[in-house]
């Protein structure tokens, strides 16, 4: 027994040579499988079997900080939306898209006839100073174009309805954004 100096009956049952060999081999094989399929891919990005990347374990080494723009996978793809915004009489309304830096949005909007003053602009994420950057300011009843977000934040339109009746804006967008809504 391993601890020969300990007098006790509660010890490891004696194993035969073949069993001992079997258990030792099992421990080596199990360790090797765990190393090759899980530990080495995760720790060192060494992935001879491809199991590591199949399990999604090779991600720890792939992320190099500062390389490229960090975009959640689901927001990086193109999305389209058709939105109707009602601007009440004599009031202003903001409709914004939350976008990461360098995400691009193509848009087209028309009103039901009357022209609206608008300011297409962006506000940096987390900014509390009230800073914004305008991309276009005019009074029009329709406009189409595109813009690339110069910084992460909320980007979109401020429409001001100076008339005495509500005006409905039909906005169609396609591009990359995280979420959108009235502000």
């Amino acid at each position: 027994m391993p601890q020969t100096d300990i007098k006790t009956s509660k010890t490891q049952p004696t194993l035969t040579n073949s069993k001992l060999l079997k258990y030792t081999l099992f421990s080596v094989v199990f360790a090797t499988i765990a190393l090759i399929t899980v530990i080495l891919p995760a720790e060192y990005n060494i992935d001879p079997t491809g199991a590591g990347s199949a399990l999604g374990l090779t991600v720890f080494d792939n992320e190099k900080p500062g390389a490229g723009i960090e975009l959640p996978a689901e927001v990086a793809k193109e999305r389209t939306a058709t939105i109707e915004v009602v601007v009440p009489a004599g009031r202003g309304v903001e409709y914004k898209f939350t976008m990461a830096q360098y995400q691009k949005l193509t848009y087209e909007w028309t009103t039901d006839g009357s022209a609206l003053y608008f300011d297409l602009h962006g506000e940096p994420k987390g900014d509390t100073t009230g800073y914004f950057e305008s991309y276009a300011i005019a009074t029009l009843d329709a406009m189409k174009g595109s813009f690339t977000a110069p910084f992460a934040g909320s980007h979109g339109w401020y429409w001001k309805n100076a008339s005495a009746v509500p005006v409905t804006v039909q906005l169609v967008v396609s591009g990359e954004y995280i979420e959108h809504g009235l502000k």
Binding site: I6, F26, F30
Partner: protein
């Protein structure tokens, strides 16, 4: 119940503190905050070094696996005390010696040897030495020798930081004492679990497979560290 409390009350409170310790650090090295501290450290800082030492031990799965292997078949408190003392003596000696004399041992290689100590202990618990070479090498001596290896492993962790000589000895001793406090905490856990499990028949039924898994974990540590050595 109250008997249990008296016996384990102190240990349990240490254990509770350990649960509250952040567990983001792993066997390899030191987390970001600790790194920052060690790099900017000047002068004697007893409590922080105590803490780093304790944390290193509590979160160091290589040391813990070895302790599990050592304690697995120790039924008497006297034996537990004796073996743990041997381990403590071994790793304290090389921790102090390694840092003071600035002996440079590759951290990957020493950690691979620590992995080997886990394999050795598992194999010994399986009765493997008796079966294959006819006798079991003195287990106390083995624990002492592997304790020396674990100490060099601890030393490499501290040496990564070129600690200033100002207050080095005090900080080093604080780290060492911290390691022992961490070890006591870990022991409290391991003993509680093992002692509870021993009351059940499954302990012996599963002792073979448990030590087999222990060996396997040791092999994993060896492979992990040797690969680290190869790619570094």
């Amino acid at each position: 119940m109250s008997h249990y409390f008296h016996r384990f009350g102190a240990l349990s409170s240490v254990a509770l503190i350990a649960i509250l310790l952040p567990l983001e650090a792993f066997a390899h090295g030191v987390d970001e905050n600790t790194r920052e501290f060690l790099l900017n450290n000047t002068g004697v800082q007893i409590i922080p070094f105590l803490y780093i030492g304790a944390k290193h031990m509590v979160t160091g799965y290589d040391h813990l696996l070895f302790l599990v292997g050592v304690l697995f078949f120790l039924y008497k408190s006297r034996d537990v005390l004796l073996y743990v003392s041997m381990f403590t003596l071994g790793h304290s000696a090389t921790l102090l010696f390694g840092v003071i004399s600035d002996i440079g041992i590759n951290a990957y290689l020493i950690d691979a040897i620590i992995g080997l100590s886990v394999v050795y202990k598992g194999f010994e618990n399986l009765g493997g030495f008796k079966q294959t070479i006819g006798f079991t090498p003195n287990p106390k001596a083995a624990v002492l020798i592997f304790g020396l290896c674990h100490g060099f492993g601890l030393a490499t962790k501290l040496q990564e930081f070129q600690l200033p000589s100002d207050g080095l000895i005090s900080n080093l001793i604080a780290f060492n004492v911290g390691v022992e406090l961490g070890q006591l905490t870990a022991l409290a856990f391991i003993l509680l679990v093992i002692n509870y499990w021993r009351q059940h028949a499954s302990f012996i039924r599963f002792s073979t497979i448990t030590n087999c898994v222990l060996m396997s974990a040791g092999f994993m540590l060896i492979g992990f560290q040797l690969t680290g050595y190869a790619v570094s």
